[in-house]
C-alpha cells in the first residue's frame, strides 16, 4: 500500500517529517518497505534571468553572463549560443548535482574568469534530450524553483488483518493514536438532492452481498481529472482514466471503500444481485471474457450480467467519455465469497483485495457521499437520494478487557488512562467498569474479536521496546534428543567421518526418474515445474542426479550422502540415510595405484556406520535384496539378529539401467542405505547391557581351512553353521574366494581362518584336532568338502 505524505496530511494534522513518520509506522506494525523522499538537490535549481551576456575575454566561444537569480546577481561562464540578454533560463548553484550526469558543481575559474554555478540545457536537467543551448523558460518567475516539489511516498506492507489501513485515513488514525498528530475528523457532507431518479435494486437470497448502496447522478460530463487528482493517483502508481473512474478509485484509497460506477443508460431495468447459475459469462473491464462458476455473486440487470460483485465490473455498463448518467455503487460483500471466486478465476483487483480482507460496512454512505460530491464538483450533474438495499446487520462487537491480563500476557503493567487514550483514538467506545473495560469495537476493525486482540493494540501503540527481557532458565524436563533423533545426528557424522559429503536435495523429483524406484508415484497437484512433479520414493533419485552434475563437471570420484524423508504410496514417510560411491577410492598418487569402488566398499561403509549407530556388526545378517533400483545379483538387505529382525540397511550396485537412462557412462554407482526408523531403541543403555570383559590368558589357536562348495552356497551359510559348532570359536574370517579352472565349474572354494579361544586351559593337540573335525563336519553338512587345511 502506497501513500503520499501530502495525502496523509489530509487526515492527520502533523508536522512530522517523512523520517519520523516512517519510524512511527514501523513501530506500530505498519512496516515501511520503501520510502521515496523529496529530492533536495532538485530544489536548488532556480529560474534565472540573464541581465547581460558578454564575450569571454580569453575565449571566443564562451560568454560571461551576469545573471539575476532572484535576490542577487552573480557571474556565470556559459558556452551556449542562445545565451543572450534578457533570456530566462535555469541556474544551478555550486553544490547542485546535474541530474543528467551526476556531476557536482563547484565554483570554477574558467580561463581566468570565476564562474559561480552553471546555466543548464534541457538535456542536463533531464527534462528532454535537447542539448543545443540552454533551456528557455517562459512560464516561471525569476528566482522561483524550477522543479515542482516532488511527492514524498511511503510504501507500506499491510498485514492481512489490517484492512482498515488499506485506506489512507486508517493509517492516519493509527498514527494519531501513536501521538504523531491530530486525526482530522470527517467533514459532514450534505448533498443537495436535485434528481428524483430512483434506482430499483433487489438482493436475492445467498447472493454473497449483504447490502447494496446506490446513488444516481444525472447529467454528468465525464472529463479528464483535475491535476490534483491525477497527481494523487499517479503517486500511488495508478493510471488516471477519467474523472468518474478516478474518483471511485480515490475514495477506495482514501477510505478503504471500493466503489463502482455504472453507465445508467446501459442498465436495463432493475439491478438484481444474485448467485450465479451454471455457465454464465460476461466480459469484464480487463477485456477478458469470464466463465463464472455457480454460486458466485453477480450484479445483473433484467437482461445481462453487469459485473462480478466486489471483484470486477463489466464492460457492458462501463463509464466512457460519453456517459451522461451514472449509478454509483457501494456495497458490502461476503469476504469468503470474494476470496473463493476471485481465486478460482485468478482475478486480482484492488477492490477484491480489500473486500476479502474486510471493508467497513458502515462506510457505504460516507463513500457514496464523498464520491458524489467530487463528481458533481468536477463533472457536474444532479444527485438522487442515497438508497441502501439490504442490511449491514452490523452490530459492533463487544469485548471485555481486564487490565490485569495485559500484564499477565505481556509482562509489564499499564495504567487505565493510557489504555483509554489509545483505544479511544483507535475508535473504540469505552465503558470503564471496576475491574475491566467494556469495549465496542469500531466497525472498520474486523480483525478484533477478543481480549488478546485488544492487548495487542495497546502493546503496539505503547511500544514493544517496553517489554522487559526475562533471562531463560536451564531447567530440563526431557532430554533434548530422543533415540531416533540421536541416530539422525550420529548417522550424519558417521557418513562424514567416512569421507562422504552431505547434500540436501528436494523432497520431490522427476516422475520419469522416480518410476525406476517405485511403480507408485505421489503426484503433486501443482508442481513448481514438470521435472519436480512427484515426491521421491528414494533418496537415490536426486542424489544420483546431483552426482551426475558433479560428473559433468569432471569431478569423477564422489562420495555423497543425504539423510532425509522418502515417501511411500500410502503417504507415509520414513527417514533414510543414503550414500553413494562413484568412481575411484582415491585419485591415483605415486604411493598407491588407484582402485575403483566396488560393492564391498558400500558394505564396509554400511557396517561401519551401523556400528557407529550402536549395532554389533557380528549380529548383522545379509540377505539378497529385492529392491528394484539395485543390481539384482549385487545387492543385499541387512537385518539385525536374524532374518526376521529389523531391516536396518541395504547396499548394492545401483541398477545399470538407471545409469543408462540418466546417461551416466563409464562408471558404476554403489549405494548404501540406513533405515533409521526401523531401529528399535534398546530398553537399557549400552553401558548397562555391555558384557563383562573376559580376557583369556591362554594361547589362541588359529587354523585355516579351504572348502569346495556349490556356487550358490553363501559365505554367510558356511560361517553360521561353523560358528554354531563350538563356543570356543572366537571368529571366522573369509580370506580367499576362488572360482576357476582348478575346480569344478559349478563349485567355488572358500578359504577361512578360524580362531579358537580357550577359556580355562591351553588346548591340547588332540582337542584342536577335535575342533577342526567339527568345523569340517559342519562344512560337509551343507555340501562342502575340505580342499586343504
Amino acid at each position: 500500500m502506497k501513500l503520499t505524505v501530502s495525502w496523509l496530511k489530509k487526515h492527520l494534522n502533523t508536522k512530522a517529517t517523512i523520517d519520523v513518520i516512517e519510524e512511527a509506522l514501523t513501530n506500530i506494525g505498519l512496516e515501511v518497505e520503501e520510502t521515496i523522499k523529496t529530492n533536495n538537490n532538485l530544489e536548488l535549481f532556480k529560474v534565472a534571468k540573464i541581465i547581460k551576456a558578454e564575450k569571454h575575454p580569453n575565449a571566443d566561444k564562451l560568454k560571461v553572463c551576469k545573471v539575476d537569480i532572484g535576490k542577487k546577481n552573480i557571474n556565470v561562464v556559459c558556452g551556449a549560443a542562445n545565451a543572450r540578454d534578457g533570456l530566462k533560463t535555469v541556474y544551478a548553484p555550486p553544490g547542485a548535482i546535474i541530474p543528467k550526469n551526476g556531476m557536482k558543481l563547484v565554483v570554477a575559474n574558467i580561463r581566468g574568469v570565476e564562474s559561480s554555478g552553471m546555466l543548464c540545457s534541457e538535456n542536463e536537467l533531464g527534462v528532454s534530450d535537447e542539448s543545443d543551448g540552454i533551456i528557455e523558460v517562459s512560464n516561471k518567475k525569476t528566482g522561483e524553483k524550477f522543479f515542482n516539489k516532488s511527492e514524498e511516498i511511503l510504501d507500506i506492507a499491510i498485514t492481512p488483518n489490517r484492512s482498515d489501513c488499506l485506506g489512507i485515513r486508517g493509517i492516519a488514525r493509527d498514527l494519531s493514536a501513536y501521538g504523531l498528530g491530530k486525526f482530522i475528523e470527517e467533514k459532514k457532507i450534505n448533498l443537495k438532492q436535485k434528481s428524483k431518479k430512483k434506482i430499483n435494486v433487489e438482493i436475492k437470497k445467498n447472493s454473497g452481498c449483504f447490502a447494496f448502496g446506490s446513488l444516481f447522478i444525472e447529467g454528468v460530463k465525464n472529463c479528464e481529472s483535475p491535476n490534483w487528482l491525477k497527481k494523487d493517483l499517479e503517486s500511488l502508481g495508478l493510471k488516471p482514466i477519467s474523472a468518474i473512474v478516478d474518483i471511485t478509485n480515490y475514495v477506495m484509497f482514501d477510505l478503504n471503500r471500493p466503489m463502482h460506477a455504472y453507465d445508467a443508460d446501459k442498465v436495463n431495468g432493475k439491478i438484481i444481485v444474485r448467485q450465479s447459475k451454471n455457465n454464465e459469462s460476461f466480459e469484464a473491464l480487463d477485456d477478458k471474457e469470464y466463465k463464472i462458476p455457480s454460486s458466485a455473486c453477480l450484479i445483473t440487470d433484467n437482461t445481462k450480467v453487469l459485473g462480478l460483485g466486489g471483484i470486477i465490473g463489466g464492460k457492458s455498463t462501463a463509464i466512457s467519455s460519453d456517459t451522461k448518467n451514472i449509478i454509483l455503487e457501494a456495497a458490502a460483500f461476503d469476504p469468503v465469497v470474494i476470496a473463493k471466486f476471485s481465486k478460482r478465476l485468478s482475478i486480482m483487483t484492488d477492490a477484491k483485495f480489500r473486500f476479502e480482507r474486510g471493508v467497513d460496512p458502515n462506510s457505504i454512505e460516507v463513500g457514496l457521499k464523498l464520491a458524489a460530491q467530487l463528481i458533481t464538483e468536477i463533472c457536474g450533474g444532479k444527485i438522487s437520494k442515497i438508497k441502501i438495499t439490504g442490511t449491514t446487520k452490523n452490530k459492533n462487537k463487544k469485548v471485555k478487557f481486564d487490565l490485569n491480563n495485559f500484564k499477565k500476557l505481556i509482562g509489564f503493567s499499564i495504567n487505565s488512562k493510557d489504555c483509554k487514550n489509545i483505544l479511544e483514538k483507535l475508535g473504540f467506545k469505552i465503558k470503564i467498569k471496576k475491574q475491566y473495560f467494556d469495549l465496542e469495537v469500531p466497525s472498520w476493525r474486523p480483525d478484533i474479536s477478543q481480549e488478546a486482540d485488544i492487548i495487542e493494540e495497546i502493546l503496539r501503540i505503547k511500544g514493544l521496546d517496553r517489554i522487559e527481557s526475562i533471562p531463560p532458565t536451564s531447567i530440563k524436563s526431557k532430554p533434548a534428543l530422543n533415540y531416533h533423533q540421536k541416530l539422525f545426528h550420529l548417522v550424519q557424522r558417521s557418513y562424514a567421518s567416512r569421507g562422504f559429503f552431505e547434500t540436501i536435495s528436494w523432497s520431490f523429483t522427476n516422475s520419469k526418474l522416480n518410476q525406476y524406484y517405485s511403480d507408485k508415484n505421489i503426484k503433486i497437484i501443482n508442481p513448481i515445474s514438470s521435472d519436480l512433479d512427484v515426491l521421491r520414493s528414494s533418496n537415490f533419485v536426486n542424489l544420483i542426479l546431483q552426482a551426475k552434475s558433479n560428473l559433468d563437471r569432471s569431478n569423477s570420484n564422489l562420495q555423497m550422502f543425504e539423510v532425509g524423508p522418502v515417501f511411500n504410496s500410502d503417504l507415509s514417510q520414513e527417514i533414510i540415510a543414503s550414500g553413494i560411491l562413484v568412481g575411484k577410492k582415491m585419485s591415483s598418487t605415486w604411493v598407491a595405484n588407484d582402485a575403483n569402488f566396488n560393492v564391498f566398499d558400500a558394505k564396509e561403509n554400511l557396517n561401519y556406520i551401523l556400528s557407529d549407530l550402536g549395532l554389533q556388526v557380528d549380529r548383522l545378517i545379509v540377505q539378497k535384496s529385492n529392491k528394484v533400483y539395485y543390481h539384482p545379483g549385487q545387492s543385499g538387505d541387512v537385518f539385525l539378529g536374524n532374518e526376521k529382525g529389523p531391516k536396518v540397511g541395504s547396499f548394492g550396485t545401483i541398477h545399470p539401467l538407471i545409469l543408462q537412462k540418466m546417461d551416466i557412462q563409464n562408471t558404476n554407482i554403489f549405494g548404501l542405505e540406513v533405515y533409521l526408523d526401523n531401529f528399535i531403541e534398546p530398553k537399557k543403555p549400552q553401558r548397562i547391557t555391555k558384557k563383562q570383559l573376559i580376557k583369556s590368558d591362554f594361547q589362541i589357536v588359529e587354523r585355516d581351512f579351504a572348502f569346495i562348495l556349490d556356487k550358490n552356497v553363501r559365505a554367510n551359510n558356511l560361517i553360521s553353521v561353523i560358528q554354531k559348532t563350538d563356543s570356543l570359536i572366537k571368529s571366522i574370517k573369509v580370506f580367499d574366494v576362488y572360482e576357476g579352472d582348478k575346480i569344478d565349474k559349478e563349485k567355488k572354494s572358500l578359504a577361512i581362518k578360524v580362531l579358537f579361544e580357550p577359556s580355562d586351559k591351553t588346548l591340547t593337540d588332540k582337542e584342536i584336532d577335535e575342533l577342526s573335525a567339527k568345523v569340517i563336519a559342519a562344512a560337509e553338512s551343507i555340501g562342502g568338502s575340505l580342499r586343504s587345511q
Partner: protein, 355 residues
C-alpha cells in the same frame, strides 16, 4: 709361559684394526674360542710354577676382562656404523605427497540445526518432529487460518490431492499443533525441519528449512519470549553485543505477533551481524493465539506461552557468509568442500558452537 705383556699389546693392536662384525668374531675366536690363546692359557695354568701361578692367573683374568670390554665397545661401534649406513641408504624425499586425505563434510544446514539444538537444549528445550506431508487442519485451520483466509494465499502451498486437504507443510508450525495435541503443558520444544512453498526465484527455493519454537506453561509471558530470543540470537551469532528489535506484525496463530530484527553493519558490501547501524529481519514470533490453544484443547485461561519460527537456511547464510540460497540444494561438491563442516566439528556448549 705366555708373555702376558706382549699378549696385551698384541690384543690392543689387533682390535684397533677391526672395522666389521666378521673380523671381530674372528679375533674373539682367536683369543677366547675353544682353542683360543687365552682359553689355552687358562688351561695351562696348572702347569705353571705354583709360586708364579697366582699372579699369572690374576693378570690373565685382567687381560681377559679388558679384552671383553674392548670387544664390547668395538661391537657397539660397529653396530652404530652399520645402522648409520642403513639409514643413509633408506633416506627418501619426504616432500613427496602422501595419499590424498578423504574428508567428508556436513551440510551447513545440518551444522546450524546442531548449533540451534545445542543452544536451546541449554535452556530446557527438547526437539519435536512432524511429517512433511501434512493435512490442511494442522497446517492451517488449527493455526487459526481458516479456508479463504487471505493469509493462506501468502503461503504458496503444494497440494497432494485435488480437494486441497493433503499438502506439503508450508511451515514447521503444524508441529506445534501435533505436540500440543499429544502432550499436556508444560511444553517446551523446538522443531527443525523441511518446509515447502510453491515459489522459486533468486531468494526463494521450493523447499527450505525452518525451526519452530514453542513454550507453554501457566505464566509464560512476552518477557520470557524476549529473554529466550535474546539468548538464542546472541549465542547463535556468538556476539553479546548483538542488538534485537521487536516490531509488531501479524500471524494468524499468534496474538500479539512480533517480527524480530537484529543489528548488523555492512563491511565491504558484506553483511556482518553484530553491533551496527542497520536492521535485518530474522524471525517471527508471538504469544500463542487463544484460538489455537482452544483448537488443541488447552484452556487459554490456564495456560499461555509463546511460539517462534525462524529460517534455518537464512541463519546459515548470515552466519557463514553464504550468498546464494539455491546453492544449498544443488549438491555441488566444490560448494560442500568450501562451506561444509568436518565430521568431528560437533557444536557443544563447552567447546563453543563453531571452531
Amino acid at each position: 709361559m705366555l708373555d702376558l705383556k706382549s699378549l696385551s699389546q698384541e690384543i690392543n693392536s689387533k682390535i684397533e684394526e677391526i672395522n666389521d662384525r666378521q673380523s671381530l668374531e674372528a679375533v674373539k675366536t682367536y683369543y677366547l674360542g675353544k682353542k683360543g690363546i687365552i682359553t689355552e692359557a687358562f688351561k695351562d695354568i696348572g702347569k705353571i710354577d705354583p709360586e708364579k701361578r697366582k699372579s699369572f692367573a690374576a693378570e690373565l683374568n685382567i687381560i681377559k676382562s679388558n679384552f671383553l670390554n674392548i670387544l664390547n665397545n668395538s661391537q657397539s661401534r660397529i653396530d652404530l656404523k652399520e645402522i648409520e649406513t642403513k639409514l643413509s641408504l633408506e633416506t627418501i624425499d619426504i616432500t613427496l605427497p602422501a595419499n590424498e586425505i578423504v574428508k567428508g563434510k556436513i551440510h551447513p544446514v545440518s551444522q546450524v540445526i546442531d548449533e540451534l539444538t545445542s543452544i536451546f537444549a541449554e535452556i530446557g528445550f527438547s526437539v519435536a518432529e512432524g511429517p512433511d506431508i501434512e493435512n490442511e487442519f494442522n497446517n492451517f485451520t488449527a493455526l487459526n487460518t481458516p479456508e479463504h483466509h487471505p493469509a493462506r494465499d501468502m503461503h504458496d502451498t503444494f497440494y497432494l490431492d485435488e480437494n486441497k486437504k493433503i499438502l506439503l507443510r508450508t511451515h514447521t508450525s503444524p508441529v506445534q499443533i501435533r505436540t500440543m495435541l499429544d502432550n499436556k503443558p508444560p511444553i517446551k520444544i523446538i522443531a527443525p525441519g523441511r518446509t515447502y512453498r510453491c515459489d522459486s526465484d533468486m531468494t526463494h527455493t521450493p523447499m527450505f528449512h525452518q525451526l519452530e519454537g514453542l513454550h507453554i506453561d501457566k505464566d509464560i509471558n512476552m518477557g520470557h519470549m524476549k529473554g529466550c530470543l535474546d539468548f538464542f540470537l546472541k549465542r547463535f551469532f556468538e556476539d553479546d553485543n548483538l542488538e534485537m528489535r521487536f516490531r509488531p506484525s501479524h500471524f494468524p496463530f499468534t496474538e500479539p505477533s512480533v517480527e524480530v530484527d537484529i543489528s548488523y553493519k555492512l563491511e565491504n558490501n558484506k553483511i556482518v551481524v553484530g553491533k551496527g547501524d542497520k536492521w535485518l529481519e530474522v524471525l517471527g514470533c508471538g504469544m500463542v493465539h487463544p484460538n489455537v490453544l482452544n483448537n488443541v484443547k488447552i484452556d487459554p485461561k490456564k495456560f499461555q506461552g509463546y511460539a517462534f519460527g525462524v529460517g534455518i537456511d537464512r541463519l546459515a547464510m548470515l552466519k557463514y557468509g553464504i550468498t546464494d540460497l539455491r546453492s544449498f540444494f544443488e549438491g555441488d561438491l566444490r560448494w560442500s568442500e568450501h562451506f561444509g563442516f568436518d565430521a568431528n566439528d560437533v557444536p557443544t556448549n563447552y567447546r563453543g558452537l563453531s571452531k
